[in-house]
Symmetry: C2
């Protein structure tokens, strides 16, 4: 039932090729110039016209979401070990997960902004990605709460936002020790120790 009655035409080969080129270039440009990089320059560098870029990824956020999915694989690779850790030490597992999350939210400079917007908008291509991460955070949090090492009033979204906050400030060269101190403050806020 999913394909309509007339036999579907095989998709053209250049579509996939162009999509791959664009995504590849996007990863480079987002990494080097941040999420605000010029899409025009990106398209030129990928060897396609602006229209092609916009056809494949109608908005900057759509492209960003696709690029994040690629980078997200690295995060997911770290997931299982952390889950194992959490089973023996829920507190440490949660802490490490939040650190990994912070790193991920820092994948591209300027990423926290659109992520925050996505958290609120619910209709952004990034939203699904974020919700999955909040869900995972919730798993770690629940384990820690069962162990009594995390306060019961804390919610997963709060922790996600805390990691987002840290990622946000990461990019600004504040003092040497500003980040660790902030992490500690937040940790004190959610943990029972």
């Amino acid at each position: 039932m999913s394909p309509a009655q007339p036999a579907a035409r095989k998709p053209r080969a250049d579509v996939a090729r162009n999509r791959a080129r664009i995504l590849d270039t996007a990863l480079r440009h987002f990494t080097e110039h941040g999420v605000g990089t010029s899409l025009e320059a990106l398209a030129k560098d990928a060897g396609v016209g602006p229209a092609t870029l916009y056809r494949h990824f109608p908005t900057r956020e759509a492209l960003l979401a696709a690029a994040l999915d690629v980078r997200g694989e690295a995060l997911l690779a770290r997931l299982e070990p952390l889950q194992a850790l959490a089973r023996s030490d829920a507190d440490e597992g949660l802490r490490q997960w939040l650190l990994a999350l912070e790193g991920y939210l820092n994948t591209f400079s300027g990423l926290p902004e659109p992520v925050l917007a996505a958290l609120a908008s619910h209709s952004s291509p990034l939203a699904a990605n974020c919700e999955r991460l909040v869900k995972l955070t919730d798993d770690f949090l629940r384990a820690a709460q069962r162990d009594g090492t995390a306060r019961p009033t804390v919610r997963a979204r709060d922790l996600f936002l805390s990691a987002l906050f840290l990622a946000w400030t990461d990019r600004a060269p504040l003092g040497e020790d500003a980040l660790p101190t902030l992490r500690e403050l937040l940790e004190t806020g959610y943990s029972t120790r």
Copy 2:
């Protein structure tokens, strides 16, 4: 010694007039459209050419700093009562001050970004403004620490960043109760209760 030898010329009258017009319009535009508002439109609305705007305020940040100084008066008006409160209840004084700070950092939509940048850059027109606020936060914090209601390892800059974070998330329509929960988490992080 401050004026050079030849008698200085009285400054022209239109300079002050234009500056006032621009600043006035800037307050309106920043309030209505956020810190990213079009400076071109702003200039037109103020009845001056773009060049005049840029002569008075060479960068967006300079204009923003001037506008914030105006709005800052409202914050300073709340300062003395809060200081009085802090003398009798340092904990509550600090909490209220941080709330006032959060509100101030939300004066214009999008303000947290440039403020964070200013905190790091040290050469931004906003930097002086920020440092003054950090200094004030330090006064409240020290009082609370003397009273033993604030952890001794916390620093004023951390609290300022916390308020900035809350202001940053304020603008995103997250859940109904997201903000209070976050405030509570941060509060738990810096206080001894």
